[in-house]
Subunit: 363 residues, 2 copies
C-alpha cells in the first residue's frame, strides 16, 4: 500500500446520515456510532493490538490503524467510522515522549516543568511528525470507499495541557491548576501553542479525507464555570474558527464534547460548532431545550447499560429517544467510551435498537 | 478519659454562625469550614496519624480522633468542627473488612458479590459496633466546650454501595452498574438496608452530641438524572425524613452534598434538607437563583486555589461572594476536600478572607 498517494473517494456517500444529522438536516433514521468503537471489547482488535506490540505502534502503523478502525463496521451497521488514534499524538510530536505502561495509562517521559519547556515547544507539521496519522486517515477513507463518513478528532488544548503538565493521568490536577491559579499567563501561552497545533492537525485531517471532526475535552469538567470559559472553551472556539468548513463540496461538521460539561452547553453552542457531545449526566431533552436549534446533539447512553440484557438496552434507547423527541439533530452514541468488558453482541442489540426505534421519529 | 460518660455542654454556643447560616438566619459574618480540614496537610495531623499506626486505628481511638478533629480549630478561626472519621465505617461494621493500603485507597476484604451477601448484611448498632464513632462525637463535643458546633456525617447509601459492591475505589463503576441495570431490585434492597443503617447512625451521632449533619454523596454524579433520583436521592430523602430535627432545643440542620450534582440542585432542595453542598463546577449565584429560599448553600471554592498566592486566594473568595450576593444562607467551604500538599498558611489566608470580606454582606 502507498497510503500517502491513496486515491480519494468522491464526496458521494452511500450513507450520509451522520453528516446530515450533525447539520440538523432530515434523515430517515437516527445515525449511531460509539465512542471507542474500535477497541479492546473486540477480540479482533486485541489480535491486531498484539500483532502491533504496544498501543502507539498500532497508532503509528497506518494499515493497522485502518484495520482496527474498520473492524466495528464489519460487525455492526454503524453510520460512521472514527479514525483510530490517540489524543496525545500532538504532545508526543512536540517531543514529550509518550508511552503507555500496562494498567497505568499514558505517561510522558519529558513533562512540562518550566516556562522554558513551554516556550521551546515546536509546532508539529501534520504531514511530517504526524504523517502517520494523516496516512491512516487516507487509507481509512480509501478503504471506506464511500460507505459511511470518516470522523477525525483531536483532544482540546486544555485536556492536552493537563497531561503535558501533570506528566500523565491525574485525579487532582494539582500541577496544572497550580499553573492556572499561580501563573495563568504561562498556561495561556501553552494553550495558544496547542490551539495552533490542533488547528493545523485538524485541517490536515480534513485535507487527508476526514469528513467530520470531533474535539474531545475530557477534562474541561474539572474547572469552575469561569475557568472553563477562559481556559478551555475559548481555545476550542479559536480552533473551530480556524477549521475548513467545506471539503469535497460539503460542510465538515464539528462536534465539541466536554465530559461533565452538561452545565455549560449554552456557552458551548455559541462557539460556531455544529454539534455537542453530551454525557449521560444530562437529560438529552433538557439539553435540546437549552441549546434550541443552534446545534445538533450527540449522545448519551451510559456505557454501562451495555452490561445489561437486550431488553434493558432497548428500554434505555427508548428512554433517550423519548427525551430527545422527534426530528433531526440527534446522533446516537454513548456518553463516553465503550468499556472493554462489554460483550460485542450487546453492541449489535444497541445499534439495531437505535435504527429500528428511530424510524418513527423521522416521518 | 471516659468518653462514653463525658458530660454534654449546653446548647449555648459562643459561635453559632454555622447553624444560623444553614437555616438562613441572619449572621454577622459568613461562617467557614473546610471539607477534610482535619487532614494530611497539617503536620500535627501527620504526627498523630503516625502515632496511631494506620488510618482506621486513628478513627477507632476516640481521644486521637478528637485530637485531630480539633487541630484545625487551634490554628484557624473556623466556625465549625467536623467529626474525624470515614464514610466507610458502616460497611466495615457490617463485616466487610475495611482496610487502607498505602496509595491505593480503601479496600474491602469481603465485598458484596451475591444476593446472599446482601441479604445477610446485619444492621449495625451505632452504640455497639460503631461505639468508637459515638465516643469520638462525645469527646469532641465535650472538648469543644460550646465554642463552635460539631458536624456529624455519613456517606450516602449509593456512595457506600459503590464501595461495597466494587470492593474499593473504581473509575468505571462496572460492578455496581451491572447490578443497577441488570438486577435493580437487588440494588434497591442493598440501598434500603444502607438507608436504615445511615439513619440509625446519624440519629446516634445527634444523640451523642452532633449539632449539624452532612451526607456525602461522593459518587451520585456518575449516574444519569433518572438513575440519580431513583438510586441515590430517593434514599437520601428517606434518611432526611428519619432524622431528629431538634437537639438541645435547636434545629439540627442537614446538608446534602452530591459531588458533580450541580445539575440536580432543584431536586435535592426538595428533600427536606436544610442546605446543599455545591462543588466548584456550579456558579454559586446560579445555584442560589435555582433553589431560591428553599435551602442554604455550602461551598464552593476549587481546593486547588489554595495552591495560589494570598492575593489570588482573596480574589477567588471575592468572586464567590460576588456570585452568591448579600444576605444569609451561605456557608463558605471548598467544593471538595482540601488537598494534602496545601501549605497551612494558605488556609489561614482563606479563612481570614472569608470573615473579612463577608462583614459587608451582612449589614
Amino acid at each position: 500500500m502507498k497510503p500517502a498517494d491513496a486515491g480519494r473517494t468522491p464526496a458521494t456517500l452511500d450513507n450520509d446520515r451522520l453528516l446530515r444529522a450533525l447539520l440538523r438536516e432530515p434523515v430517515d433514521r437516527t445515525p449511531v456510532w460509539l465512542m471507542r468503537q474500535a477497541g479492546r471489547y473486540l477480540p479482533e482488535y486485541r489480535a491486531v493490538r498484539e500483532q502491533a506490540g504496544d498501543f502507539m505502534s498500532l497508532c503509528r502503523t497506518p494499515e493497522l490503524a485502518c484495520e482496527v478502525s474498520l473492524q466495528p463496521l464489519r460487525r455492526f451497521p454503524l453510520d460512521a467510522v472514527i479514525l483510530f488514534s490517540d489524543i496525545l499524538t500532538i504532545p508526543d510530536a512536540m517531543g514529550l515522549g509518550l508511552h503507555f505502561s500496562a494498567g497505568e495509562g499514558p505517561r510522558f517521559e519529558r513533562p512540562l516543568r518550566t516556562a522554558a519547556d513551554i516556550n521551546r515547544l515546536p509546532l508539529p507539521d501534520p504531514e511530517k511528525e504526524l504523517r502517520y496519522v494523516m496516512d491512516a486517515v487516507r487509507v481509512i477513507r480509501r478503504e471506506l470507499a464511500g460507505s459511511v463518513p470518516l470522523i477525525g478528532f483531536s483532544g482540546s488544548p486544555w485536556t492536552l495541557a493537563t497531561y503535558m503538565v501533570e506528566g500523565g493521568s491525574t485525579k487532582e490536577f494539582s500541577r496544572v491548576k497550580r499553573m492556572l491559579f499561580g501563573e495563568p499567563a504561562l498556561l495561556h501561552r501553552l494553550l495558544e501553542i496547542l490551539s495552533d497545533a490542533v488547528t493545523h492537525y485538524l485541517n490536515a485531517q480534513v485535507a487527508a479525507g476526514a469528513q467530520a471532526l470531533m474535539i474531545f475535552d475530557t477534562w474541561g469538567g474539572v474547572l469552575t464555570p469561569r475557568d472553563y470559559l477562559e481556559f478551555s472553551l475559548a481555545y476550542m472556539q479559536r480552533i473551530v474558527e480556524g477549521l475548513p468548513r467545506q471539503a469535497d463540496g460539503r460542510r465538515v461538521p464539528v462536534v465539541l464534547f466536554t465530559k461533565n460539561g452538561g452545565q455549560w452547553l449554552e456557552s458551548m453552542a455559541q462557539t460556531g460548532c455544529d454539534a455537542l457531545g453530551v454525557d449521560w449526566t444530562t437529560d438529552l431533552g433538557d439539553a435540546r431545550a437549552r441549546v434550541g436549534d443552534r446545534v445538533a446533539l450527540q449522545g448519551n447512553m451510559d456505557p454501562s447499560v451495555l452490561y445489561a440484557g437486550p431488553q434493558r438496552i432497548r428500554e434505555e434507547v427508548a428512554t433517550i429517544f423519548a427525551s430527545f423527541g422527534a426530528g433531526s439533530g440527534h446522533v446516537f452514541n454513548l456518553g463516553h467510551g465503550i468499556h472493554q468488558h462489554v460483550d460485542p453482541e450487546k453492541v449489535a442489540v444497541f445499534v439495531d435498537a437505535v435504527h429500528e426505534q428511530s424510524v418513527a421519529l423521522h416521518t
